[in-house]
């Protein structure tokens, strides 16, 4: 069953950057595919960060990081509006906790101004108190352009919009090899992209035969069904947006110039009841050698305060563990910025990993690499896309499009629609739900499934359908990332029960085939009777 499929462009990695590229390129008359090893989008580092739209003052003038971050920040409001995702331009404070940190604030301000960051202003301790009475600091740098957004919503929304504009997604397809052939298409370089599936056929059979067998259940879109059985793709262009694994993808075509050094950042998420304490992200003055921006406090749009991230080089790229030492350290450092937080306020801890090009002994930041390989024409390398990568995702995608368009003439896709309609807002969903259940007297939009985050039945069902619509494979995590059901203070204790029951009732999903985080796990081991 190795039906080969041909595309103009295959993008490797359905993270924020991969999805942004797919969305941007779907604005042209190109056939675009995205291959992703995980069952769903935003399962990697795009869903494991602070969710801050940076203003660009942390990066070296003249770097891609500085330029694209400033651009991305300026465009973020428009993008958020088109995509229908939560974004708040909250502003941000960088705090000097002692006098010796003060010179660094001046440097940051000067650097930001050189980068074109707007609305930077030094504030004294009194003004800090005026901005937020709970924050301590001798001096601060106020950045009016910085904002916060939901990184899951952003990443997923771009995938949905790309898909709506014609991009095709292959989830659970891990790239295992890339063969570049010069004779694949006339006069151009061609690639064959080999993939393997984690779930294997038996698992996908489970999905097809059990989850979608009954007639009243939504069936998979036809293209998804066919493509699920194909393991090899062909493309004229390959865009390596493999994040943590971008160096390995490079090596598949013989490019050995890059080594990703994974650097873990752990976080704590605090209960929403503290939201009044913090209305904006607060950072300490960064330590230049740490390779991160320092442990900071972020006020997520959901109202949760996020403490983190730490910075620790690790051996395994996907070692997303929490460690005792860092958990304690984060809590202590978070308390220093915002006195009064308690251990009982922590509702969850998590970790992300930065795909750094700087080795542990170097520290600091290298610039983004965004270029077409000179050795392998048609192969576009994106590597070292760490912070501020997600802020820069859309400008990065435009830069990639520029590289491609400089090489060949492609017409614009006149049908391209940048506005996302799927799962856009509660009111849209309510309308959908009402029309879906026109005959019934019940209102799925008002039936609360997740009590902590007040997520309705309609939102959960819509999330499930939206997962299938982009060709992803449903998991509890995918539903959580789309709805926030399970992200609240009970951490899914109540709603996991209801979601399992709801999916069984409304979508015919056998709970025994319900996955939690990945296709290799299951929520249950069997039935009692």
């Amino acid at each position: 069953m190795n039906e080969q499929r041909n595309f103009d462009v295959v993008i490797i990695g359905a993270g924020a950057v991969g999805n942004a590229i797919a969305r941007t390129l779907s604005g042209y008359k190109l056939s675009v595919a995205v291959v992703e090893k995980e069952p769903d989008t935003a399962f990697g580092i795009s869903g494991r960060n602070s969710g801050v739209a940076h203003a660009g003052f942390n990066n070296k003038p003249g770097s891609f990081m500085a330029k694209l971050c400033v651009q991305g920040n300026e465009q973020f409001g428009k993008a958020a509006e088109e995509l229908g995702i939560p974004f708040k331009r909250t502003g941000k404070l960088v705090i000097a906790l002692s006098e010796e940190d003060v010179p660094e604030l001046y440097e940051l301000k000067a650097q930001g101004e050189a980068n074109g960051t707007l609305e930077l202003r030094l504030v004294d301790s009194q003004e800090i108190k005026n901005i937020n009475p709970h924050i301590n600091g001798v001096m601060g740098l106020w950045s009016g352009m910085t904002g916060v957004f939901d990184p899951f919503a952003f990443t997923i929304a771009m995938a949905e919009n790309a898909k709506a504009n014609g991009a095709v997604y292959f989830f659970d397809h891990q790239v295992t090899g890339i063969i570049s052939e010069s004779n694949l298409s006339p006069g151009d370089h061609g690639f064959r992209i080999q993939t393997s599936r984690n779930s294997g056929m038996p698992d996908s059979k489970n999905f097809e035969s059990n989850d979608f067998q009954s007639n009243d259940v939504k069936t998979l879109p036809d293209d998804v069904k066919t493509l699920r059985t194909s393991n090899e793709l062909a493309a004229r262009w390959v865009i390596n947006s493999g994040g943590l694994h971008s160096d390995e993808i490079c090596r598949m075509v013989g490019i050995k110039d890059y080594v990703i050094h994974p650097c873990r950042g752990e976080y704590h998420i605090l209960d929403q009841k503290l939201s009044a304490f913090l209305g904006l992200p607060v950072y300490p003055v960064p330590n230049k050698n740490s390779g991160g921006l320092g442990v900071h406090l972020t006020s997520a749009p959901s109202g949760n305060i996020i403490i983190g991230p730490s910075s620790e080089y690790i051996a395994d790229k996907e070692d997303y563990r929490d460690t005792k030492q860092v958990m304690d350290q984060l809590f202590a450092e978070g308390s220093e910025l915002l006195p009064g937080i308690a251990s009982s306020h922590i509702i969850k801890s998590f970790a992300g990993v930065r795909p750094k090009l700087t080795a542990p002994n170097q520290g600091g930041f290298a610039d983004f690499v965004i270029e077409e390989s000179t050795k392998v024409p048609g192969f576009i390398i994106l590597t070292g896309i760490e912070s501020p990568g997600i802020t820069s995702a859309i400008p990065i995608s435009e830069m990639v499009a520029g590289i491609l368009l400089a090489r060949e003439h492609v017409d614009k896709n006149e049908d391209f629609k940048p506005i996302r309609h799927e799962g856009r807002s509660l009111s849209t969903q309510e309308d959908d739900a009402r029309s879906n259940t026109a005959q019934s007297t019940t209102n799925a939009a008002e039936n609360i499934i997740c009590r902590c985050e007040r997520i309705s039945e309609a939102e959960v069902i819509s999330a499930y359908d939206r997962i299938l619509a982009i060709g992803a494979i449903p998991t509890m995590k995918g539903i959580k990332n789309r709805t926030r059901a399970g992200m609240g203070r009970c951490q899914g204790g109540f709603c996991a029960i209801k979601i399992a029951a709801l999916l069984q009732e409304k979508r015919g999903v056998d709970p025994l085939h319900l996955h939690f985080n990945s296709l290799k796990d299951s929520m249950f081991v069997g039935r009692t009777r």
């Binding site: 929490d322 005792k324 039945e457 939690f516 990945s518």
Partner: protein, 540 residues
């Protein structure tokens, strides 16, 4: 006194002003409602977010409920049924599948005349009768849409929630297979789903202990129950009948320091705790498992009350309330596990009934209270009924915990010298039973020296336990053709402890055809034990 437009609209919609809205239809809410009705309060409405009444009780299919309140041993669903029946008899209204999203204080006085419609209400002499509170607006979201109710008083009977992993700061991965005890209990007892096969339980609260037995009976292996304190958190009777009976190791003074496994949990690391609470690194060891059950504490859940501005005790997260059960917001009361986490549902019912009287008096007195906010904490503490307070840390030889009621008496017995037991008489020491000739024991019973029993039943219990220990079996049976896959069952009386696994095999093979009623005999003379197996919940 002025009415803004929204309030006017609400009242013009001929909305009945409720006397009391009770949020939560569990044991506390139902008992409070019945009590209010008995006091002559007519407009009482219970709002329950689940599809059925009963709160947490429907999933608590084990026995031990009602011993204090009714002198009768019941399961959770049976206990709930008593109250549900009374509720229906009294014609008390309730909504199910309805979530309260907010409670707001209005500026409408509770004794304001319904016909008063003049716009210059503010000029009327409110001073004349100051015995008035203000109506509250309760907003409810359900499959029928959003509705607003006006009420004179609100009772928060919203129960509690389980502490999750976050606050414990357990390091490690975040794989599948980590459940709180109550979530696992719901899956097994109501949804017919097994969460795992090889289980570690963190925390020895009652639900954790109950789940250790439940999972064992369902064929899972409970590797260990790990407790950071020096004694189990749950009732001594639960330690005995859920752990000791099944030889499940209870590891005291230890905690989980790491969670392993990328997709599904594969192991936990356990370390002993030093006297100062720090981890003894040298005691580190791994337990392989596919499931971690967390039974690490319950927290009152009063989020709906917070929307009205009630204050919480910073340390315990319990709502501050005076002795009467009134929160820091006038006219908003709290009872049951929403107030503080009770050891027994019996105590919840008693407290809620008493609150019913208090709230009835509040309504009758024109919703006027003079709150003394200074003593919230003190009053609150003295009021608590703690059934686990005097639990024994360890048992002396020849002492047993009486299983007959939650008092969990530690009964000591001394045999006459002539009847020291020989090891050969310890048949199946694994299960702890000692083989006696019954005549032998009865003969010497008079010579027993028994101490520590709070009632006469203790003696009888010790004798029975020594001759042939008996246990009530609670489980579930497959239902054919009903709205649910399984129905909860129990034996009407104890069956031999040594045959409990055989009995489980029999239970697993049984099938019953819907509809099933509570108390319906599923199997007469179950396994010729002389007891029946009866349904403890209904399936339509």
């Amino acid at each position: 006194m002025s009415l803004n437009k929204t309030e006017k609209a609400l009242r013009n919609e001929e909305m009945t002003i409720k006397d009391v809205i009770i949020i939560g239809g569990g044991p506390a809410g139902m008992a409070a409602a019945i009590s209010l009705k008995n006091q002559g309060i007519s407009e009482v409405l219970i709002i329950e977010r689940e599809a059925v009444l009963g709160g947490i009780l429907p999933q608590c299919i084990h026995d031990g409920f009602g011993l204090i309140r009714f002198g009768k041993n019941m399961t959770g669903p049976e206990y709930a049924d008593i109250y549900e029946r009374r509720l229906l008899e009294k014609g008390i209204s309730y909504l199910v599948g309805a979530a309260v999203t907010s409670i707001k204080q209005t500026d409408i006085e509770t004794n304001a005349d319904d016909d008063s419609n003049s716009d210059d209400d503010s000029n009327s002499d409110a001073e004349e009768d100051s015995r008035s509170g203000f109506l509250k607006q309760v907003t409810v979201s359900s499959a029928q849409g959003t509705a607003h109710y006006l009420t004179k008083a609100v009772i928060l009977a919203t129960g509690c929630r389980e502490r999750a992993r976050g606050a414990l700061r357990i390091p490690g991965t975040r794989p599948a297979g980590i459940y709180t005890a109550g979530t696992a209990q719901n899956f097994i007892n109501l949804r017919n789903l097994m969460p795992g096969k090889r289980i570690v339980i963190l925390g020895s609260g009652d639900i954790g202990l109950i789940m250790a037995r439940r999972l064992t009976l369902e064929g899972a292996e409970v590797v260990a129950v790990i407790e950071k304190e020096k004694a189990a958190g749950g009732l001594p009777r639960n330690v005995k009948q859920c752990l000791t009976d099944f030889n499940i190791p209870l590891i005291l003074g230890a905690t989980i320091t790491d969670i392993k496994g990328v997709n599904r949990i594969s192991a936990v690391s356990v370390c002993n705790l030093l006297e100062d609470g720090r981890i003894n690194e040298e005691s580190f060891r791994d337990y392989s498992c596919d499931t971690l059950i967390l039974s690490v504490g319950l927290i009152p859940e009063v989020e709906t009350g917070l929307t009205a501005g009630i204050a919480l005790d910073e340390k315990t997260a319990e709502p501050l309330a005076d002795q009467e059960g009134q929160t820091t917001v006038d006219g908003i009361f709290v009872c049951g596990n929403a107030r503080y986490v009770h050891d027994l549902v019996d105590d919840v019912s008693t407290e809620a009934e008493s609150l019913g009287v208090t709230v009835a008096n509040y309504i009758k007195s024109g919703c006027f209270t003079l709150q003394d906010s200074s003593d919230y904490k003190e009053n609150f503490k003295t009021l608590k009924v703690q059934r686990t307070a005097n639990r024994p840390k360890s048992l002396e030889p020849n002492t047993m915990i009486c299983l007959l009621c939650p008092n969990s008496c530690a009964i000591s017995y001394v045999f006459p010298k002539t009847l020291e037991f020989e090891e050969s008489k310890r048949e199946d020491t694994k299960r702890g039973a000692i083989k006696f000739e019954e005549s032998e024991l009865i003969e010497t019973m008079d010579n027993f020296e028994i101490t520590g029993a709070m009632c006469g039943k203790g003696e009888e219990y010790v004798r029975r336990e020594l001759i042939s220990p008996m246990r009530i079996l609670t489980s579930s049976v497959r239902v054919l053709g009903g709205g649910k896959e399984i129905v909860s069952v129990r034996t009407t009386s104890g069956i031999p402890k040594g045959q409990i696994f055989e009995a489980m095999e029999k239970v697993k093979a049984l099938k019953v055809v819907a509809p099933v009623e509570i108390g319906q005999i599923v199997e007469k003379d179950f396994m010729t034990f002389g007891v029946d197996l009866i349904a403890t919940s209904k399936v339509l």
